[in-house]
């Protein structure tokens, strides 16, 4: 009996919606790890694993934010700039002597404000999400630039040591705090998405916005919330960036929006909305992170590195499609 229940448990997990792609992409991830550790045994050293985990977290967090937006069938291009905005605002305030935590809070609030604007532009003003968030992307970068009058900030200094430890340098129970932050963010937002009403509505909107409206789903509210969540995630990564570098840099987060989309889509989140689970995004961000870390360890010539990355990204998703086509064929027989 015990055994059977266990099998059922696994069966249930496998049968979970969206789990198919997660499993096939995970197998691509495992293959990558094996190749990298053959190329350089250092890759699998405890020190590197712990490092790697910490390096993946920022991508993972923005990936989660982007996944939320993608599942509603929209996109958020402003993510990278919001990272920069959060980094610059918080660091500027800290260098002007404001308490680091208060600075972080203010930066966070400003970023949530930008998210609110993106959300309202998409949901209320009915702007195409590409344009709305391209607009906020450029504006947020501009805000990052004027924060300290077009200069990167000075070092945030000793007073921010606690802040830096909390977000980057410190460890708890043998893992970097950053990793714990990533874990909490994942668990929390996965819960929201899979277990709450808002989560359900997010999927519904992405699946059929008209039907959702007719069923009484508050589309404006939910869409706006989703953009605010995505900005929250970006702002959090911005704070991690500030803590990491110990200063505010105006181009922090540049280009992250596409990394976030990549992590999401590799993990099975559809850019057309309605589909995907956050566990997929986690696997997707690991593919991205391991690739970058592993290629450095493999000492691959820089020139062909991009070619390898591009091919791996495509192959990772192809594996899933082949796996599924295989399944379809089998089902037919």
């Amino acid at each position: 009996m015990q055994v059977k229940e266990k099998t059922n448990f696994f069966k249930n997990i496998i049968a979970m919606r969206g789990m198919g792609q997660v499993i096939s992409v995970s197998s691509a991830l495992v293959m990558m790890c094996i190749v990298f550790s053959i190329l350089n045994p250092n890759f699998f050293s405890g020190k590197n694993i712990s490092n790697l985990l910490r390096q993946v977290v920022p991508i993972l967090i923005i990936g989660i934010g982007q996944s939320y937006v993608l599942i509603t069938g929209n996109i958020d291009l402003s993510i990278g700039s919001i990272v920069g905005m959060s980094c610059m605002i918080s660091a500027t305030l800290m260098t002007r002597g404001v308490n680091p935590w208060v600075s972080a809070l203010i930066a966070m609030l400003c970023c949530l404000g930008m998210g609110l604007i993106s959300g309202l532009l998409v949901s209320k003003a009915k702007l195409p999400p590409f344009i709305a968030t391209l607009g906020t992307m450029i504006v947020a970068r501009g805000i990052a630039q004027i924060s300290n009058n077009n200069y990167n900030t000075d070092a945030i200094g000793e007073g921010a040591r606690g802040f830096r430890n909390f977000f980057y340098y410190g460890q708890t129970l043998g893992l970097f705090n950053t990793v714990w932050i990533g874990l909490v963010v994942f668990i929390f937002f996965d819960f929201i998405l899979s277990r709450t009403r808002t989560g359900r509505h997010i999927y519904a909107i992405g699946s059929n916005i008209e039907a959702s409206k007719l069923s009484g789903v508050n589309v404006v509210f939910t869409t706006t919330i989703v953009y605010i969540i995505s900005s929250f995630c970006a702002a959090l990564v911005g704070l991690i960036t500030t803590a990491t570098g110990g200063l505010g840099t105006m181009d922090a987060g540049n280009g992250y929006e596409l990394n976030a989309v990549a992590a999401s889509v590799i993990g099975g989140v559809s850019t057309l909305g309605g589909q995907g689970i956050l566990l997929g995004t986690v696997v997707g961000s690991f593919i991205w992170g391991v690739l970058n870390n592993g290629l450095q360890f493999a000492g691959a010539p820089v020139a062909i590195r991009n070619i390898v990355i591009g091919i791996v990204v495509v192959v990772a998703v192809l594996i899933d499609i082949i796996a599924r086509t295989g399944k379809v064929k089998k089902a037919k027989e």
Binding site: N42, N51, Q145, T244, D251, Q296, V302
Partner: protein, 307 residues
Amino acid sequence: GKSETAGTTTPTPQTQDNTSENETPSGGEEKKKDYLVYLITMDLMDQHWASMDQGAKAAAQELGLNYKWTAPTTGKDDAAQIECINNAVADGADVILLASNGPTTQVATLEEASKAGVKIIYVDSPADFPAIQTLATDNEKAGEIAGQEMLAALNAKGITSGKIGIVNVNSATASTVAREKGFRKAFEGTNFEILATQYGEGQVDKSQQIATNYITEGCVGIFGANEGSTVGVGNAIQESGSDIVGVGFDKSDAVLQLIESGALLCTMAQNPYDMGYQGMKTAYAALTGGDTGPEYVDTGVTVLKKN
């Protein structure tokens, strides 16, 4: 020692009145012709350029010149910089202070500009087209100095072999590529193994990740090729707590603090403010028929170490 260096490097702008060049008519009252000088840099993001702007702006105000700063808004982009030059010419610029993206990219455009009567002065990075003056850092030489500093420090510790990592911006930025070239030159003939260069796009967090990975691989020294790379290298070394030798480029408050704390051995400080300031003076001289000085001014690098 720190406060002294920081004072010159991070110019504190007098925020009240220097933002609007519209007030220059007061300078125009001196019955000079209304000259317009453009500063065109590689991008808008780097602190380096902002310092240069400060220098140029200060000189322009002293001399009563109209002055505009521009650069591609989207990041470093050759085509966009060419557009900036064309626009400046169309706007009636008399002199362009140019930090050229590459040695040859802008040549044809500069020919056009020069035909239209615009005078050219290079700041930071020259192009292969004759100009009144070039004010720049000899990047390869500076890189070699950085390498020599690192080698000396390693030898002083009794280390004569091991891996060395390089964190560069990207392989397309001529100035940082030259620095890397010089740095590698310094290690020719030694037993040190220089690992494949990694590119962090000048972003602190990316550079820091790369440096952390280098440290995991067991490097004994790491070189950062610009300000962002250097801060990343310094932070990573500081975190590891090891005595890896870190050498970098450019000076900023963050870099200086890392030197103070011993995470970095030294940095090669350029003088962007001087480039802008002196470049503007040369522009004035060229416009008013004064002496424009030598064709090449090496604004030099200073090796900044912990005192």
